[in-house]
Protein backbone atom coordinates (compact mmCIF):
# COMPACT_ATOMS: atom_id res chain seq x y z
CA UNK A 1 0.00 0.00 0.00
CA UNK A 2 1.21 3.44 -0.81
CA UNK A 3 0.93 5.18 2.58
CA UNK A 4 3.50 7.90 2.97
CA UNK A 5 4.93 6.95 6.31
CA UNK A 6 6.63 10.31 6.76
CA UNK A 7 3.32 12.21 6.87
CA UNK A 8 1.58 9.87 9.29
CA UNK A 9 3.02 11.07 12.62
CA UNK A 10 2.28 14.70 11.71
CA UNK A 11 -1.32 13.99 10.85
CA UNK A 12 -1.75 11.92 13.95
CA UNK A 13 -0.41 14.70 16.07
CA UNK A 14 -2.56 17.49 14.74
CA UNK A 15 -5.88 15.62 14.35
CA UNK A 16 -6.75 14.98 17.98
CA UNK A 17 -5.94 18.56 18.83
CA UNK A 18 -8.18 19.90 16.07
CA UNK A 19 -11.02 17.67 17.28
CA UNK A 20 -10.53 18.66 20.90
CA UNK A 21 -9.93 22.37 20.36
CA UNK A 22 -13.56 23.60 20.16
CA UNK A 23 -14.55 21.90 23.39
CA UNK A 24 -11.34 22.92 25.16
CA UNK A 25 -11.85 26.57 24.20
CA UNK A 26 -15.51 26.37 25.19
CA UNK A 27 -14.77 24.89 28.61
CA UNK A 28 -12.00 27.43 29.17
CA UNK A 29 -14.38 30.31 28.40
CA UNK A 30 -17.57 29.10 30.07
CA UNK A 31 -16.34 26.76 32.77
CA UNK A 32 -12.85 27.75 33.91
CA UNK A 33 -13.27 31.54 33.74
CA UNK A 34 -16.40 31.61 35.95
CA UNK A 35 -14.76 29.16 38.33
CA UNK A 36 -11.62 31.30 38.58
CA UNK A 37 -13.85 34.31 39.09
CA UNK A 38 -15.29 32.70 42.22
CA UNK A 39 -11.72 32.37 43.49
CA UNK A 40 -10.96 36.00 42.66
CA UNK A 41 -14.14 37.28 44.32
CA UNK A 42 -13.31 35.37 47.46
CA UNK A 43 -10.13 37.44 47.99
CA UNK A 44 -11.21 40.82 46.58
CA UNK A 45 -14.78 41.46 47.78
CA UNK A 46 -15.08 43.68 49.64
CA UNK A 47 -11.56 43.98 51.09
CA UNK A 48 -8.57 42.63 49.17
CA UNK A 49 -7.05 39.95 51.33
CA UNK A 50 -7.88 36.77 53.12
CA UNK A 51 -10.42 38.25 55.54
CA UNK A 52 -13.27 36.21 54.01
CA UNK A 53 -11.40 32.96 54.53
CA UNK A 54 -10.55 33.95 58.07
CA UNK A 55 -14.24 34.45 58.79
CA UNK A 56 -15.31 31.26 57.03
CA UNK A 57 -12.69 29.10 58.72
CA UNK A 58 -12.89 30.55 62.23
CA UNK A 59 -16.40 32.04 62.59
CA UNK A 60 -18.60 29.90 64.81
CA UNK A 61 -21.61 30.03 62.44
CA UNK A 62 -19.55 28.85 59.48
CA UNK A 63 -17.80 26.17 61.46
CA UNK A 64 -21.18 24.91 62.65
CA UNK A 65 -22.55 24.83 59.11
CA UNK A 66 -19.52 22.99 57.71
CA UNK A 67 -19.57 20.47 60.55
CA UNK A 68 -23.29 19.99 60.02
CA UNK A 69 -22.67 19.48 56.29
CA UNK A 70 -20.03 16.85 56.94
CA UNK A 71 -22.10 15.12 59.57
CA UNK A 72 -25.17 15.04 57.35
CA UNK A 73 -23.20 13.78 54.34
CA UNK A 74 -21.70 11.03 56.48
CA UNK A 75 -25.08 10.09 57.95
CA UNK A 76 -26.72 10.03 54.52
CA UNK A 77 -23.89 7.88 53.13
CA UNK A 78 -24.15 5.37 55.98
CA UNK A 79 -27.96 5.23 55.64
CA UNK A 80 -27.70 4.75 51.87
CA UNK A 81 -25.31 1.88 52.53
CA UNK A 82 -27.62 0.31 55.13
CA UNK A 83 -30.56 0.67 52.77
CA UNK A 84 -28.74 -0.14 49.54
CA UNK A 85 -26.71 -3.20 50.48
CA UNK A 86 -29.64 -5.44 51.49
CA UNK A 87 -31.61 -4.36 48.43
CA UNK A 88 -28.70 -5.06 46.08
CA UNK A 89 -28.31 -8.43 47.80
CA UNK A 90 -32.02 -9.15 47.36
CA UNK A 91 -31.75 -8.26 43.67
CA UNK A 92 -28.82 -10.59 43.12
CA UNK A 93 -30.60 -13.53 44.78
CA UNK A 94 -34.19 -13.32 43.45
CA UNK A 95 -35.30 -14.53 40.01
CA UNK A 96 -34.16 -12.60 36.97
CA UNK A 97 -37.65 -11.24 36.35
CA UNK A 98 -38.05 -9.95 39.91
CA UNK A 99 -34.57 -8.40 39.75
CA UNK A 100 -35.54 -6.61 36.54
CA UNK A 101 -38.72 -5.27 38.17
CA UNK A 102 -36.73 -3.87 41.12
CA UNK A 103 -34.13 -2.47 38.74
CA UNK A 104 -36.91 -0.75 36.80
CA UNK A 105 -38.13 0.87 40.03
CA UNK A 106 -34.61 2.03 40.98
CA UNK A 107 -33.99 3.41 37.49
CA UNK A 108 -37.33 5.19 37.58
CA UNK A 109 -36.47 6.79 40.89
CA UNK A 110 -33.02 7.70 39.53
CA UNK A 111 -34.47 9.43 36.47
CA UNK A 112 -37.18 11.29 38.37
CA UNK A 113 -36.05 14.84 39.01
CA UNK A 114 -34.62 15.74 42.46
CA UNK A 115 -37.36 18.35 42.76
CA UNK A 116 -40.17 15.87 42.16
CA UNK A 117 -38.79 13.51 44.77
CA UNK A 118 -38.26 16.36 47.24
CA UNK A 119 -41.85 17.49 46.67
CA UNK A 120 -43.08 13.93 47.20
CA UNK A 121 -41.50 13.88 50.65
CA UNK A 122 -43.10 17.20 51.39
CA UNK A 123 -46.49 15.62 50.62
CA UNK A 124 -45.71 12.49 52.63
CA UNK A 125 -44.43 14.24 55.74
CA UNK A 126 -46.62 17.37 55.67
CA UNK A 127 -48.99 18.31 58.48
CA UNK A 128 -51.96 17.08 56.45
CA UNK A 129 -50.00 14.23 54.91
CA UNK A 130 -50.41 10.46 55.12
CA UNK A 131 -47.71 9.84 57.73
CA UNK A 132 -49.20 12.27 60.25
CA UNK A 133 -52.68 10.99 59.35
CA UNK A 134 -51.52 7.42 60.03
CA UNK A 135 -50.01 8.46 63.35
CA UNK A 136 -53.25 10.17 64.37
CA UNK A 137 -55.30 7.15 63.29
CA UNK A 138 -53.07 4.98 65.42
CA UNK A 139 -53.92 7.20 68.37
CA UNK A 140 -50.86 9.40 68.69
CA UNK A 141 -52.36 12.66 69.96
CA UNK A 142 -49.66 15.21 69.19
CA UNK A 143 -47.49 13.91 66.38
CA UNK A 144 -44.20 15.80 66.27
CA UNK A 145 -43.68 18.09 63.26
CA UNK A 146 -41.79 16.08 60.65
CA UNK A 147 -41.34 18.63 57.90
CA UNK A 148 -38.61 21.31 57.86
CA UNK A 149 -36.46 19.34 60.26
CA UNK A 150 -33.13 17.64 59.98
CA UNK A 151 -35.03 14.36 59.90
CA UNK A 152 -37.06 15.21 56.79
CA UNK A 153 -34.15 16.53 54.76
CA UNK A 154 -31.91 13.59 55.71
CA UNK A 155 -34.64 11.06 54.88
CA UNK A 156 -35.32 12.67 51.51
CA UNK A 157 -31.60 12.81 50.66
CA UNK A 158 -31.22 9.12 51.51
CA UNK A 159 -34.15 8.37 49.22
CA UNK A 160 -32.78 10.54 46.43
CA UNK A 161 -29.20 9.24 46.60
CA UNK A 162 -29.86 5.57 47.41
CA UNK A 163 -30.16 4.60 43.70
CA UNK A 164 -26.51 5.65 43.14
CA UNK A 165 -25.43 3.32 45.95
CA UNK A 166 -27.72 0.46 44.92
CA UNK A 167 -26.63 0.51 41.28
CA UNK A 168 -22.94 0.57 42.19
CA UNK A 169 -23.21 -2.33 44.66
CA UNK A 170 -25.55 -4.36 42.44
CA UNK A 171 -23.16 -4.11 39.48
CA UNK A 172 -20.39 -5.61 41.61
CA UNK A 173 -22.60 -8.29 43.22
CA UNK A 174 -23.85 -9.44 39.83
CA UNK A 175 -20.31 -10.18 38.72
CA UNK A 176 -19.45 -12.34 41.75
CA UNK A 177 -18.72 -15.88 40.61
CA UNK A 178 -21.12 -18.19 42.55
CA UNK A 179 -18.46 -20.90 42.58
CA UNK A 180 -16.36 -18.66 44.84
CA UNK A 181 -19.15 -18.68 47.42
CA UNK A 182 -19.68 -22.42 47.04
CA UNK A 183 -16.00 -23.18 47.45
CA UNK A 184 -15.87 -20.96 50.53
CA UNK A 185 -18.85 -22.88 51.93
CA UNK A 186 -17.21 -26.19 51.12
CA UNK A 187 -14.22 -25.07 53.18
CA UNK A 188 -16.46 -24.38 56.13
CA UNK A 189 -17.31 -20.68 55.85
CA UNK A 190 -20.94 -20.09 56.81
CA UNK A 191 -23.20 -17.22 57.80
CA UNK A 192 -21.33 -14.39 59.35
CA UNK A 193 -17.82 -15.55 58.54
CA UNK A 194 -18.75 -16.22 54.90
CA UNK A 195 -20.10 -12.68 54.69
CA UNK A 196 -17.15 -11.07 56.45
CA UNK A 197 -14.30 -12.89 54.77
CA UNK A 198 -15.69 -13.59 51.31
CA UNK A 199 -18.77 -11.61 50.35
CA UNK A 200 -17.92 -8.25 51.90
CA UNK A 201 -14.38 -8.02 50.41
CA UNK A 202 -15.75 -9.00 47.01
CA UNK A 203 -18.35 -6.23 47.11
CA UNK A 204 -15.98 -3.61 48.59
CA UNK A 205 -15.31 -1.83 45.25
CA UNK A 206 -19.04 -1.20 44.81
CA UNK A 207 -19.33 0.07 48.37
CA UNK A 208 -16.38 2.42 47.82
CA UNK A 209 -17.78 3.75 44.52
CA UNK A 210 -21.27 4.29 45.87
CA UNK A 211 -20.11 5.87 49.12
CA UNK A 212 -17.77 8.38 47.47
CA UNK A 213 -20.45 9.35 44.98
CA UNK A 214 -23.19 9.77 47.60
CA UNK A 215 -20.91 11.64 50.02
CA UNK A 216 -19.66 14.08 47.39
CA UNK A 217 -23.12 14.82 45.96
CA UNK A 218 -24.45 15.30 49.48
CA UNK A 219 -21.70 17.78 50.41
CA UNK A 220 -22.83 20.18 47.69
CA UNK A 221 -26.57 19.42 47.88
CA UNK A 222 -28.66 22.58 47.58
CA UNK A 223 -32.27 21.85 46.61
CA UNK A 224 -33.42 19.28 49.17
CA UNK A 225 -31.88 20.74 52.35
CA UNK A 226 -33.15 24.21 51.41
CA UNK A 227 -36.71 23.02 50.74
CA UNK A 228 -37.08 20.35 53.42
CA UNK A 229 -34.48 21.14 56.07
CA UNK A 230 -34.64 23.30 59.15
CA UNK A 231 -33.61 26.90 58.45
CA UNK A 232 -31.64 26.82 61.68
CA UNK A 233 -29.55 23.84 60.64
CA UNK A 234 -28.41 24.86 57.19
CA UNK A 235 -25.95 22.98 55.05
CA UNK A 236 -23.05 24.66 53.25
CA UNK A 237 -24.67 24.99 49.81
CA UNK A 238 -27.79 26.56 51.31
CA UNK A 239 -25.77 29.11 53.27
CA UNK A 240 -23.73 29.97 50.16
CA UNK A 241 -26.98 30.57 48.29
CA UNK A 242 -28.23 32.76 51.15
CA UNK A 243 -25.07 34.90 51.12
CA UNK A 244 -25.60 35.59 47.44
CA UNK A 245 -29.38 35.95 47.25
CA UNK A 246 -30.16 37.72 50.51
CA UNK A 247 -27.03 39.50 51.67
CA UNK A 248 -25.29 40.01 48.31
CA UNK A 249 -22.13 38.99 50.16
CA UNK A 250 -20.32 37.68 47.11
CA UNK A 251 -16.91 37.58 48.76
CA UNK A 252 -18.07 35.55 51.72
CA UNK A 253 -20.22 33.25 49.57
CA UNK A 254 -17.29 32.71 47.19
CA UNK A 255 -14.88 31.90 50.02
CA UNK A 256 -17.33 29.29 51.34
CA UNK A 257 -17.77 27.94 47.81
CA UNK A 258 -14.00 27.59 47.40
CA UNK A 259 -13.71 25.74 50.71
CA UNK A 260 -16.52 23.40 49.62
CA UNK A 261 -14.85 22.92 46.23
CA UNK A 262 -11.42 22.18 47.74
CA UNK A 263 -12.87 19.59 50.12
CA UNK A 264 -14.80 17.94 47.28
CA UNK A 265 -11.74 17.90 45.01
CA UNK A 266 -9.53 16.41 47.73
CA UNK A 267 -11.98 13.52 48.20
CA UNK A 268 -12.35 12.97 44.46
CA UNK A 269 -8.60 13.36 43.96
CA UNK A 270 -7.84 10.64 46.51
CA UNK A 271 -10.42 8.48 44.81
CA UNK A 272 -8.96 9.23 41.37
CA UNK A 273 -5.47 8.17 42.46
CA UNK A 274 -6.77 4.90 43.84
CA UNK A 275 -9.40 3.87 41.27
CA UNK A 276 -9.67 6.46 38.45
CA UNK A 277 -12.49 8.99 38.21
CA UNK A 278 -14.06 7.54 35.07
CA UNK A 279 -14.94 4.39 37.04
CA UNK A 280 -16.98 6.42 39.51
CA UNK A 281 -19.88 7.23 37.24
CA UNK A 282 -19.55 4.21 34.98
Amino acid sequence: MGFKLSTLPDRQNIWPWLLLAPLAIYLALFFLVPLVEVGIMSVTEPPPGLANYERVLTGSLYRKVFLNTFGTALLVTVCCLLVGYPLAYLMSTVSKRAAMAILLLITMSFWTSFLVRTYAWMVLLGNNGPVIWLMQTLGIQDPPPLLFTRFSSTLAMVHILAPYMIMNIYTVMQKIDPSLIRSAESMGAYGRSLFRHVYLPLTAPGIANGSVLVFVICLGFYVTPVLLGSPREQMAAGLIGNQIEQFLAFGLGSAMAIVLLVVTLIILGLYHRRFGLDKLYG
Partner: protein, 264 residues
Amino acid sequence: MNTFIRWIGIAVVAFIAAPLLIVVPMSFSTAASLQFPPPGWGWQYYQAYFSDPSWLRPTWNSVFIAAMNTLLTMALVVPATFALVRHKFWGKSAANLMMMMPMAVPHIVMAIGYYSYFGELKLVHSKLGVILAHTCLSVPITFLVLSANLKGFDRTLERAARSLGATPRQVFLHITLPILRPGLLISALFAFIQSFDETVVAIFISGRNAETLPRKMFDSIREEADPVIAVISTLLFAIVFAGLIAPSVIKLIRRMTAKTAQQR
Protein backbone atom coordinates in the same frame (compact mmCIF):
# COMPACT_ATOMS: atom_id res chain seq x y z
CA MET B 1 -29.56 -14.13 58.33
CA ASN B 2 -30.50 -14.44 54.67
CA THR B 3 -34.24 -14.08 55.21
CA PHE B 4 -33.59 -11.11 57.50
CA ILE B 5 -31.63 -9.31 54.77
CA ARG B 6 -34.39 -10.17 52.30
CA TRP B 7 -37.07 -8.59 54.47
CA ILE B 8 -34.99 -5.45 54.79
CA GLY B 9 -34.63 -5.49 51.00
CA ILE B 10 -38.40 -5.67 50.55
CA ALA B 11 -38.91 -2.83 53.02
CA VAL B 12 -36.41 -0.76 51.00
CA VAL B 13 -38.40 -1.42 47.83
CA ALA B 14 -41.43 0.09 49.56
CA PHE B 15 -39.31 3.03 50.79
CA ILE B 16 -38.12 3.74 47.23
CA ALA B 17 -41.57 3.30 45.67
CA ALA B 18 -43.83 5.14 48.14
CA PRO B 19 -42.76 8.75 47.40
CA LEU B 20 -42.92 8.09 43.67
CA LEU B 21 -46.46 6.78 43.95
CA ILE B 22 -47.90 9.35 46.38
CA VAL B 23 -47.77 12.25 43.89
CA VAL B 24 -50.11 10.48 41.47
CA PRO B 25 -53.25 10.47 43.69
CA MET B 26 -52.35 13.94 44.99
CA SER B 27 -52.49 15.33 41.44
CA PHE B 28 -56.16 14.25 41.14
CA SER B 29 -57.10 15.80 44.48
CA THR B 30 -59.51 18.72 44.80
CA ALA B 31 -57.88 20.07 47.99
CA ALA B 32 -56.55 23.61 47.86
CA SER B 33 -53.34 22.54 49.58
CA LEU B 34 -51.57 19.30 50.43
CA GLN B 35 -54.08 17.10 52.18
CA PHE B 36 -54.28 13.38 52.74
CA PRO B 37 -56.58 11.57 52.26
CA PRO B 38 -57.85 13.90 49.50
CA PRO B 39 -61.38 15.28 50.10
CA GLY B 40 -62.41 14.63 46.50
CA TRP B 41 -61.15 13.69 43.07
CA GLY B 42 -60.98 15.73 39.88
CA TRP B 43 -59.00 17.07 36.95
CA GLN B 44 -58.95 20.67 38.11
CA TYR B 45 -55.19 20.97 38.64
CA TYR B 46 -54.50 19.42 35.25
CA GLN B 47 -56.76 22.07 33.74
CA ALA B 48 -54.98 24.70 35.82
CA TYR B 49 -51.56 23.60 34.55
CA PHE B 50 -52.53 23.45 30.88
CA SER B 51 -54.22 26.85 30.95
CA ASP B 52 -51.77 28.83 33.09
CA PRO B 53 -49.07 30.69 31.13
CA SER B 54 -47.02 31.10 34.31
CA TRP B 55 -46.52 27.30 34.21
CA LEU B 56 -46.53 26.74 30.43
CA ARG B 57 -43.91 29.42 29.69
CA PRO B 58 -41.26 27.84 31.97
CA THR B 59 -42.11 24.42 30.52
CA TRP B 60 -41.51 25.70 27.00
CA ASN B 61 -38.34 27.53 28.12
CA SER B 62 -37.00 24.31 29.60
CA VAL B 63 -37.70 22.30 26.46
CA PHE B 64 -36.09 24.97 24.27
CA ILE B 65 -33.03 25.36 26.51
CA ALA B 66 -32.57 21.59 26.82
CA ALA B 67 -32.86 21.14 23.04
CA MET B 68 -30.32 23.88 22.27
CA ASN B 69 -28.06 22.53 25.02
CA THR B 70 -28.22 19.08 23.42
CA LEU B 71 -27.25 20.40 19.97
CA LEU B 72 -24.35 22.44 21.33
CA THR B 73 -23.13 19.68 23.63
CA MET B 74 -23.16 17.08 20.88
CA ALA B 75 -21.38 19.40 18.42
CA LEU B 76 -18.58 19.89 20.94
CA VAL B 77 -18.39 16.47 22.59
CA VAL B 78 -18.64 14.12 19.59
CA PRO B 79 -15.38 15.26 17.91
CA ALA B 80 -13.62 15.46 21.26
CA THR B 81 -14.67 11.92 22.15
CA PHE B 82 -13.29 10.63 18.83
CA ALA B 83 -9.99 12.35 19.61
CA LEU B 84 -9.82 10.89 23.11
CA VAL B 85 -10.89 7.35 22.30
CA ARG B 86 -9.16 6.83 18.95
CA HIS B 87 -5.93 8.78 19.19
CA LYS B 88 -2.89 8.68 21.38
CA PHE B 89 -1.30 12.03 22.02
CA TRP B 90 0.61 13.98 24.58
CA GLY B 91 -1.66 15.43 27.29
CA LYS B 92 -4.43 12.91 26.74
CA SER B 93 -4.99 12.09 30.40
CA ALA B 94 -5.15 15.80 31.21
CA ALA B 95 -7.75 16.22 28.47
CA ASN B 96 -9.71 13.30 29.90
CA LEU B 97 -9.68 14.94 33.31
CA MET B 98 -10.80 18.24 31.77
CA MET B 99 -13.88 16.50 30.34
CA MET B 100 -14.82 15.19 33.78
CA MET B 101 -14.18 18.39 35.75
CA PRO B 102 -17.68 19.93 35.46
CA MET B 103 -19.03 16.84 37.23
CA ALA B 104 -16.65 17.29 40.16
CA VAL B 105 -17.55 20.90 40.95
CA PRO B 106 -20.68 21.36 43.09
CA HIS B 107 -23.35 23.19 41.12
CA ILE B 108 -23.75 25.87 43.77
CA VAL B 109 -20.10 26.87 43.17
CA MET B 110 -20.71 27.21 39.44
CA ALA B 111 -23.95 29.08 40.12
CA ILE B 112 -22.05 31.90 41.87
CA GLY B 113 -19.45 31.95 39.12
CA TYR B 114 -22.08 32.24 36.37
CA TYR B 115 -24.07 34.80 38.33
CA SER B 116 -21.14 37.19 38.39
CA TYR B 117 -19.46 36.25 35.06
CA PHE B 118 -22.68 36.36 33.03
CA GLY B 119 -23.56 39.57 34.84
CA GLU B 120 -20.49 41.16 33.27
CA LEU B 121 -21.30 39.67 29.87
CA LYS B 122 -24.97 40.80 30.14
CA LEU B 123 -26.08 37.18 29.82
CA VAL B 124 -27.86 36.88 33.16
CA HIS B 125 -31.64 36.39 32.84
CA SER B 126 -31.25 35.19 29.24
CA LYS B 127 -31.88 31.81 27.66
CA LEU B 128 -28.49 31.98 25.97
CA GLY B 129 -26.78 32.24 29.36
CA VAL B 130 -28.59 29.17 30.70
CA ILE B 131 -27.79 27.22 27.51
CA LEU B 132 -24.09 28.15 27.71
CA ALA B 133 -23.91 27.14 31.38
CA HIS B 134 -25.87 23.91 30.96
CA THR B 135 -23.65 22.84 28.07
CA CYS B 136 -20.61 22.82 30.38
CA LEU B 137 -22.50 20.72 32.91
CA SER B 138 -23.69 18.28 30.22
CA VAL B 139 -20.20 17.56 28.88
CA PRO B 140 -19.08 14.85 31.37
CA ILE B 141 -22.14 12.58 31.23
CA THR B 142 -22.41 12.88 27.44
CA PHE B 143 -18.72 12.10 27.08
CA LEU B 144 -18.95 9.09 29.42
CA VAL B 145 -21.88 7.54 27.56
CA LEU B 146 -20.44 8.20 24.12
CA SER B 147 -16.90 7.06 24.89
CA ALA B 148 -18.24 3.79 26.35
CA ASN B 149 -20.00 3.24 23.02
CA LEU B 150 -17.02 4.23 20.93
CA LYS B 151 -14.66 1.97 22.87
CA GLY B 152 -16.83 -1.02 21.97
CA PHE B 153 -16.72 -0.12 18.28
CA ASP B 154 -15.27 -2.82 16.03
CA ARG B 155 -12.82 -0.94 13.82
CA THR B 156 -12.24 -3.86 11.44
CA LEU B 157 -15.55 -2.86 9.81
CA GLU B 158 -14.06 0.52 8.91
CA ARG B 159 -10.85 -1.07 7.67
CA ALA B 160 -12.84 -3.50 5.54
CA ALA B 161 -14.77 -0.63 3.92
CA ARG B 162 -11.51 1.25 3.38
CA SER B 163 -9.85 -1.75 1.71
CA LEU B 164 -12.88 -2.06 -0.58
CA GLY B 165 -12.18 1.44 -1.86
CA ALA B 166 -14.33 3.75 0.31
CA THR B 167 -12.96 7.20 1.04
CA PRO B 168 -12.52 8.18 4.72
CA ARG B 169 -15.57 10.41 4.33
CA GLN B 170 -17.68 7.58 2.92
CA VAL B 171 -16.50 5.29 5.70
CA PHE B 172 -17.55 7.84 8.30
CA LEU B 173 -20.97 8.52 6.76
CA HIS B 174 -21.93 4.97 5.78
CA ILE B 175 -20.16 2.80 8.37
CA THR B 176 -19.19 4.73 11.48
CA LEU B 177 -22.25 6.95 11.92
CA PRO B 178 -24.96 4.30 11.38
CA ILE B 179 -23.28 1.86 13.77
CA LEU B 180 -22.81 4.59 16.36
CA ARG B 181 -26.34 5.97 16.06
CA PRO B 182 -27.83 4.30 19.18
CA GLY B 183 -24.89 5.55 21.26
CA LEU B 184 -25.26 9.05 19.82
CA LEU B 185 -29.00 9.06 20.56
CA ILE B 186 -28.54 7.88 24.13
CA SER B 187 -25.79 10.39 24.89
CA ALA B 188 -27.94 13.16 23.37
CA LEU B 189 -30.80 12.03 25.62
CA PHE B 190 -28.53 12.25 28.65
CA ALA B 191 -27.52 15.78 27.65
CA PHE B 192 -31.17 16.76 27.25
CA ILE B 193 -32.24 15.36 30.63
CA GLN B 194 -29.23 16.89 32.39
CA SER B 195 -30.32 20.32 31.20
CA PHE B 196 -34.04 19.73 31.68
CA ASP B 197 -33.52 18.68 35.32
CA GLU B 198 -30.79 21.16 36.25
CA THR B 199 -32.04 23.32 39.08
CA VAL B 200 -29.32 25.14 41.01
CA VAL B 201 -27.62 27.11 38.23
CA ALA B 202 -31.04 27.91 36.72
CA ILE B 203 -32.27 29.30 40.06
CA PHE B 204 -29.41 31.77 40.15
CA ILE B 205 -29.10 32.87 36.53
CA SER B 206 -32.37 32.27 34.66
CA GLY B 207 -34.35 35.20 36.12
CA ARG B 208 -37.92 35.90 35.00
CA ASN B 209 -37.13 35.99 31.27
CA ALA B 210 -35.59 32.57 30.93
CA GLU B 211 -37.28 30.91 33.89
CA THR B 212 -36.96 27.13 33.56
CA LEU B 213 -39.48 24.58 34.85
CA PRO B 214 -37.26 23.39 37.74
CA ARG B 215 -36.75 26.99 38.82
CA LYS B 216 -40.48 27.69 38.74
CA MET B 217 -41.15 24.47 40.67
CA PHE B 218 -38.49 25.35 43.24
CA ASP B 219 -39.95 28.81 43.80
CA SER B 220 -43.45 27.44 43.97
CA ILE B 221 -42.56 24.71 46.47
CA ARG B 222 -40.69 27.24 48.61
CA GLU B 223 -43.50 29.79 48.61
CA GLU B 224 -46.90 28.14 48.50
CA ALA B 225 -46.65 24.43 47.61
CA ASP B 226 -49.09 24.84 44.71
CA PRO B 227 -50.84 21.47 44.02
CA VAL B 228 -50.07 22.02 40.31
CA ILE B 229 -46.59 20.69 41.20
CA ALA B 230 -48.20 17.29 41.85
CA VAL B 231 -49.59 17.43 38.30
CA ILE B 232 -46.18 18.25 36.82
CA SER B 233 -44.55 15.58 38.96
CA THR B 234 -47.07 13.00 37.74
CA LEU B 235 -46.54 14.04 34.12
CA LEU B 236 -42.72 13.93 34.42
CA PHE B 237 -42.99 10.61 36.19
CA ALA B 238 -45.24 9.26 33.43
CA ILE B 239 -42.73 10.36 30.78
CA VAL B 240 -39.87 8.60 32.57
CA PHE B 241 -42.00 5.48 33.02
CA ALA B 242 -43.02 5.49 29.35
CA GLY B 243 -39.40 6.00 28.30
CA LEU B 244 -38.19 3.07 30.39
CA ILE B 245 -41.04 0.78 29.39
CA ALA B 246 -40.98 1.71 25.69
CA PRO B 247 -38.10 -0.57 24.55
CA SER B 248 -39.64 -3.71 26.06
CA VAL B 249 -43.11 -2.82 24.75
CA ILE B 250 -41.69 -2.37 21.24
CA LYS B 251 -39.90 -5.71 21.58
CA LEU B 252 -43.13 -7.37 22.71
CA ILE B 253 -45.12 -5.92 19.80
CA ARG B 254 -42.43 -7.03 17.36
CA ARG B 255 -42.45 -10.52 18.78
CA MET B 256 -46.25 -10.70 18.57
CA THR B 257 -46.38 -9.45 14.98
CA ALA B 258 -43.64 -11.91 14.08
CA LYS B 259 -45.69 -14.71 15.64
CA THR B 260 -48.89 -13.79 13.80
CA ALA B 261 -46.87 -13.52 10.58
CA GLN B 262 -45.56 -17.02 11.18
CA GLN B 263 -49.02 -18.39 11.86
CA ARG B 264 -50.20 -17.14 8.50
